[in-house]
Subunit: 294 residues, 2 copies
């Protein structure tokens, strides 16, 4: 089968064998925002045409491609939902040259009962065998980080944090922007921001401290972005782990980001295991195996 | 004497009698950013000239006018500092038509020992008699809210929160901007945001909830700004009061803002007394009374 994680700004496709192994992969910047005039079919054929020529005819798409801004809207499936539930709610794309289906996003609630939605992360989460087998907590860092709860082989709920977007907007549009120049994202300044997140005073105060530290020449401008990153991720992880002390967290995403999060999770008393974005390929293959392809 | 609270974007002047009563007042948008080519002297004379003609010759300026971007830099005075200490650190403006002096800003530390600075708020704080007499906590809400600790007639330290700036940047530059239209700043949505700030999950998660609530049609776009305001002020006040449970807080500022903060302080278990911006006039007169005018 062919699995595609098709998001707002990126397109990642995998050719997966019957044994679940990834036989080939492609990545391009042709996210849904980069596809003109709704030409999703043509784009998909251009990207994976050579695999279709090899006889693959089942294509499963996850991510924002199934949103109102995408190819066709796949309504959110309510939690709890596991691979078989998701497979039963796939949405067909009427198309001639292959069987193409969309994975629905999931709707659920956070730990206080407030509504949440996700689209794309569900395929990655079910692609981590330990989560389906043992249950537990997954973290998918990014613009809008997701913390996903899994029990009994199904996703039961999740919580979103605006961490990545907050970093961008603070870096670009506040008084702190003037205090910062690009520098390494890791290292001692990251750890200093992380340590600060454990102190009292609250995030709104800790953020202003970046100005005070740079004015006092105690934080070089090129170190300030890493400090801000450690501070924000520290606040996110502390809040997310508050109800799950000592948890093992399955962190899924790009290696540079999962490395930062793993460090913070460990510092906050949890245990982290890292997975790269290929979890999506495994999850899509698993869902495809439960689906009715007609 | 004449007291002037001269900030980045506003100019407010007071003519204060020997008995401390305010005899006249002026306000204009001629903050330091609106004064071209460093013509601070001309601007001041245009604003308060009629009072000088009445025989006033002592002029005390506080706020960003004493910063590097202002008329002349008045170095920060370290805390603890009271009216007499501040009066002993005034900086003269060499000028022919009146005795003009600058109030220094204060430097201090927050409750975890991290450096902080303020410029302008010190004059307002010492203008509240209850604070000098009994000590306690002052809150000056705004772009960068200050929480100021007073003991033994002197300012001992303070803590800044980026609340107002965070509101602007979230309102203008994030995914939440699309979820909001201008509406009333107070009322039930404000209270809903305030209540949310008491729940677990952390600010970075609570902010994203605005998207979920509007998508679920549970928060009208015109109510979202008030909800965001209640959420942010709730997080600020909860963090600021954490070490001062049950405190009386002297809230100083524009009436619409002090009303919101007083409501939040009460909801968080504190007690609020409100003061308008004329505290600056009383503080400047008090400092002037301790000063050596030659």
């Amino acid at each position: 089968m062919i699995g595609v994680d098709w998001g707002t700004t990126s397109f990642r496709a995998f050719r997966v064998g019957r044994d679940g192994s990834i036989r080939d992969r492609r990545a391009s910047p042709r996210g849904i925002l980069a596809v003109p005039d709704g030409r999703f079919g043509d784009t998909l054929r251009e990207e994976i045409g050579p695999w279709l020529a090899l006889g693959e005819d089942k294509v499963l798409l996850s991510g924002m491609i199934g949103s109102r801004q995408g190819w066709k809207e796949a309504p959110y499936l309510p939690c709890p939902a596991g691979p078989a539930d998701i497979a039963g709610a796939l949405v067909d794309i009427g198309f001639d040259w292959a069987k193409v289906k969309l994975v629905p996003g999931l709707s659920g609630v956070d730990e206080t009962g407030v509504a949440e939605v996700m689209r794309g992360e569900e395929a990655q989460v079910v692609g981590v065998p330990a989560l389906l087998r043992d249950g537990g907590l997954a973290c998918l860092p990014g613009t809008h980080s997701k913390w996903v709860r899994v029990a009994g082989g199904r996703i039961t709920g999740f919580t979103t944090h605006m961490t990545g977007e907050m970093f961008s907007v603070l870096r670009g549009h506040t008084i702190l922007a003037r205090m910062m120049r690009d520098g390494p994202s890791d290292g001692a300044p990251f750890d200093a921001g992380l340590a600060r997140s454990a102190e009292p005073g609250g995030l709104l105060h800790h953020l202003f401290g970046i100005r005070a530290l740079t004015l006092a020449n105690r934080l070089p401008e090129t170190d300030a972005p890493a400090y801000l990153s450690g501070l924000l991720i520290g606040h996110e992880v502390r809040a997310a782990l508050a109800r799950h002390p000592g948890s093992v967290v399955q962190v899924i995403g790009a290696p540079e980001l999962t490395a930062l999060y793993a460090r913070v999770i460990t510092a906050c008393g949890g245990y982290a295991e890292r997975h790269d974005g290929e979890a999506a390929a495994h999850g899509l293959a698993l869902i495809a195996g439960h689906a009715d392809w007609g």
